[in-house]
Amino acid sequence: MATKEELLEKLKNGVVEYEEDPVSEAAQQALDEGYDPLEMIMDGLAAGMEVVGDLYDRNEYFVPEILMCADAMYVGLNILRPHVPKRQEGGLNAQVVIGSVQGDVHDIGKNLVKMMFDVAGWEVYDLGRDVPLEKFVEEQMRTDSEVVAMSAMMTTTMLGMKKVIQMIKEKNPNVAIMLGGAPVTQDVAKLFGADGYAESAGNAVSEGIKMISRLRQMQK
């Protein structure tokens, strides 16, 4: 029988060291021994990703490491998430529409941001990549999602985001828009009318982790 703290530590370290087997073992053991799966996700897996974000900010980890940490995190998440009671999941019952805009087939940053929403227990509507602009609007309307997150890797596709924001804000000004991708700067995000931005795949993780950290604080 392991203590809660031991299992949280094992989950956290497994994510940071991108070791999938210890994460899998700890997640299963946590369930078998009756610990709260949401606590294991937020204070184990998400806490691990928080460390990963710090390592990225300090130029110790780069995107390859983050991708492997993400794989380890998903191993734990896939075991734990089905056991989180619906009423408890994420605590926010929030929904997000996410995708890479038309003309852009890059999706690493998008997938890392998606992971952050998955961890936080959001309902994620992933439209994939090369998504026609109107599709973001239709999906937001269909799902009544609170957040729309768009990614563009190239300057040439970035301007599509502006059109989507205009279309969505016309119909529903309360939707929060997140932008990400190499050409997107704070200035561009502000100019396009977005509510948040991340400039790179790694930065998206870092920003997402800060968001999860805030959620973790809110839940305590």
Partner: protein, 350 residues
Amino acid sequence: MPELSARERVERVFRREPVDTMPFFSGMGMVLRPAIKELGYKFPQIHRDPVKLARAAILSSKMFGFDSVVVPFDMCCESQAIGNTISLYEDSEDTLYPTIPEKMWKSMDEVEIPADIADHWPISLIYEAIKIVKKEAPEYPIGAWQLGPFTMAGQVLELDILLKGIFKQTAKVEATLDKLADMIIAIGQKLQAAGADYITLREMGTGTDLISPRTWKNIIQPRIRKILEAWKSPKILHICGATNLLIEMMNDCGADAISVDIKNNLAESREKLGKNTLLFGNFDVFALPCKEETTVEQAVEGIKTNIDGGVDAVWPGCDLWPDIKEANMKAIVETARTYGKKPSPAVGRL
């Protein structure tokens, strides 16, 4: 003071000989909407027709006074030649470059490149386009480019396979990059044989916002060196994103000039490189020529800041985005001419 031709100006810059004023040129795409419109073309049509490709490139340079003509514009020729299907977005009125929606190779084990790939269509149409430019606009130096092996790998495989493979399957990643490096060498040599006056190796996806300096040194640099060694001068190495931690290694690959984008701190780079290295780029291709709210005066100030930062040419930090504001674009080139009369760190003035 003699007025140099565009060709003379660019050739002299590469030899680090004095010029009359700073050139405005690029090693990446410089096709602009006003030229496409005047020619009566649609954006999706220009990528796979050598005549349209050449004429759109020539007229873009002529209309705005650039010092070179660059072909091609899109990054999918090699991947298409290998066998992938591309999206041209023929029904879209927006500026959308071709993409590869689905890559046929699902793992590094499948990567097999035909020995004669450099002769395959549509790569071959770039050689034709270069010959057309040479014939129809001999006054311009012609720039051509190839993606670097890591960036090219992302055009034939899902990038996360490569990124994760750096740690888990290092030998496979290196073997894949070696195959692509050989292809890039062969194509680059044919671009030069067709008449390209200078060539840019765009290893765009290897900035330190993606991979570590150590990975760059161990995995990327050896292939870049090999490619540049196989090409004739002048040759330029370009990397997008965060490059300050790499800039000295970039300068140790055999390139005649280094090109960076807006995320590079120019002053820091110049200090590390010294005054003798040709340094290009760092000009914001969205904010200055395209952004609706940017005034002509702001565009001019932006270019002055770029020149003061220590570049040796006004050289876009990425492909010029086709939907420019004409007045801003003209003012940017004019500023290179007027404000660029003073010597740059590596190039004196006549």
